[in-house]
Point group: C3
């Protein structure tokens, strides 16, 4: 029997099944530099040790989306190596601020399964949680992903579809320990607009666009140790339904977060992702724009 794996298929999952994912990972200032260069991140707290200290932190913390991508990446070989599509996220919360030098691991539990009516695929609902080197939870999220069946005839369990909250309730948000904004310097943070200036329903056009290159999304996705085949193997993908390599959805999220600086420069840190869906795939050559 082969010692390499082609990943789990839909019929391999059971509700309640737990995974301790490979691979443990230390995130360093090197990873941060690469993350900055891939997206042009400009939020002050994550960009400058001196600025982070001015708001009560020891030094610049990790961008929480970088943390998300690294934890997400660990879940791929067990959950979504052969995914048709990553459909959505929900209830993603940052539970503890992470710093360069911290080492992370991840665990997941299958919380729902539903076969699709075509009998060829099914949807896997999974709760994943990241831990630091002290075993403290740093991040948790639900995602659901469409996974192929290995054999169309394989029996599958009864459908279990979990409730996914449409948004994270404010009282469940965790504010980074020690952070305070008395000496926050909005001028060098890049915008005069604070919390009170935004209205519900307001639309902010973030104006700028970025064109994606193959080398960029491949480098990013490998940085997250995300091995999903669709992102790397142009030869294999020529016979896929997209006909080419598809960009990791999280790459688009980080591009959008970066572009959102122009209009939301004081959005100091991401505490949660209420929910999200990948409505269309992206590929190299596409140009990404963003509004909030």
């Amino acid at each position: 029997m082969s010692k390499s794996t082609s990943g789990n298929y839909f019929e391999d999952f059971r509700v309640g099944q737990e995974f301790r994912h490979a691979v443990p990972r230390t995130i360093t200032t090197g990873d941060v530099a690469l993350y900055s260069a891939l997206y042009g991140m400009r939020f002050s707290i994550q960009s400058s040790d001196a600025f982070a200290q001015s708001v009560g932190l020891d030094r610049a913390p990790l961008d929480n989306l970088l943390l998300f991508h690294v934890i997400f990446g660990k879940t791929v070989p067990d959950i979504s190596l052969n995914a048709v599509a990553n459909l959505g996220y929900s209830d993603c919360r940052i539970l503890r601020q992470a710093y360069p030098g911290d080492s992370f691991t991840a665990r997941s539990e299958i919380i729902g399964l539903r076969e699709n009516s075509n009998g060829k695929t099914g949807i896997v609902y999974v709760r994943s949680t990241g831990y630091n080197q002290l075993g403290q939870e740093v991040l948790t999220f639900i995602r659901w992903v469409m996974v192929n069946k290995r054999h169309e005839a394989a029996p599958t369990p009864d459908a279990v579809v979990p409730q996914t909250p449409p948004s994270v309730a404010p009282q469940r948000l965790v504010v980074p320990e020690g952070i305070r904004f008395e000496d926050y310097d909005a001028a060098i943070a890049g915008s005069p607009y604070g919390f009170d200036d935004y209205r519900i329903g307001e639309r902010v056009d973030h104006v700028d666009g970025m064109t994606i290159e193959e080398a960029e999304h491949q480098v990013a996705t490998r940085l997250y140790q995300n091995t999903a085949k669709g992102h790397f193997d142009a030869r294999l993908q020529r016979s896929s339904r997209f006909g080419r390599r598809i960009v990791y959805g999280g790459h688009i999220i980080s591009l959008a977060r970066s572009l959102s600086f122009n209009g939301l420069a004081n959005a100091a840190t991401v505490l949660a992702i209420n929910s999200g869906r990948h409505v269309n795939p992206a590929a190299a050559g596409d140009t990404v724009y963003c509004w909030s």
Copy 2:
């Protein structure tokens, strides 16, 4: 009114106007690694902690061009977001050696303005200065840049054109504190040629060439948090006068500095840029050669 910005236009500037630029930035060994990988930098003092210590420094300092690009990048959103072209530099001096872990900010003052005769654009002269986390000046330079007018009919101030020195006078150069060359090992630095071996008027062909890829100049320019639109948005640029993304001029400067190693390996550190002009734009696919 929109909370995002499309940048300043020529008629928005006034002589004497001052800017404290966003975004504060710590440069780490991660940024240094990326800088090395983008250009293949091989100067020994910046490449090796052990070598830097052999010439009296605590460890490998930042490449001064990396410092320049980061300070330059901060000035872009306020000064040159919609620049037609960055025309030239002058009187660029490194005032203090910077190290990985230092945090930088930047300020600028408008020192000259001159509308072009076509009434559509004007030239902005600006003096920019970078500071470290202790508020010490690390770098200063003048640049001039052609900026569009928002409205052709907008009134503009009388022309003020500053004197820009053709070169930096030797007595204004700042030698890095503590540096000494008694134990300098020219053999492992890569060349037997020292100061006395070069003659005024001598021409050194640096031989090698490097072909630029889109992903490379985009990654570099985002590393510097430089958001000028012309470098990233292929879709928008198709309707520009160049028809494609243009490489950040500083990327070419660093490529040339890197190529100059072959013939100038003992050019230990850049103390100043006398003056420089971007005479032609560069784009991905171009191959850069260099001579001194």
Copy 3:
């Protein structure tokens, strides 16, 4: 006479000739991050400080192939700047585990020379050794490379062809100091298969493929300060026998090592490379697969 160099040609070498190579180099966590992102490396000991500590090391050591590429890169300007092809390696051994922050230098000795029958090229055999900042040997290897003659008529020495061992004898392997596997957690390392599970003659298909982009191999090769012309200058290469830029062979080795994770996840560290040959060149657009 020019102060830049176009490298040594076959007739410039002598058996017994020694080189102290430029450029000294500190490898940082920044270089490690970039290396991870270029190949998607997932071996636990090199990926996580916490995991490395669980097997008795102070923190995550350098991937030994990254160390190999950096030492190799230093030898290029003296040995193979104008190489037609890098033909093979032998007796490559890691002599001491290296860590981020260590500074490296390299030396080589010419151990063999043999002119080819066409009179235009010859094969150079060289033993290269890397040292850390304490002068301790960290890595040694033999390689042989086909080098052009500058002048076809140039006289060349008698052929000396060294014995290159087909494999490294087990008693010559150096196990990293302090490493112990009592608490090794195979589950999060990514595979249940240990030493006892593999049989001689067993074939492991590593399944996955990666497509190479120009920006990726160029960034990698410059990270190693490897300046061989064939990798960077598309314009020059159009008139070469390949007609395009050729990927540094070591880039393929690292891609293969990374892909081998799927089936060899517990291959904790590379102690030696028995021998290797580059049987065909690779170029951007190629997709790399691997089996063991």
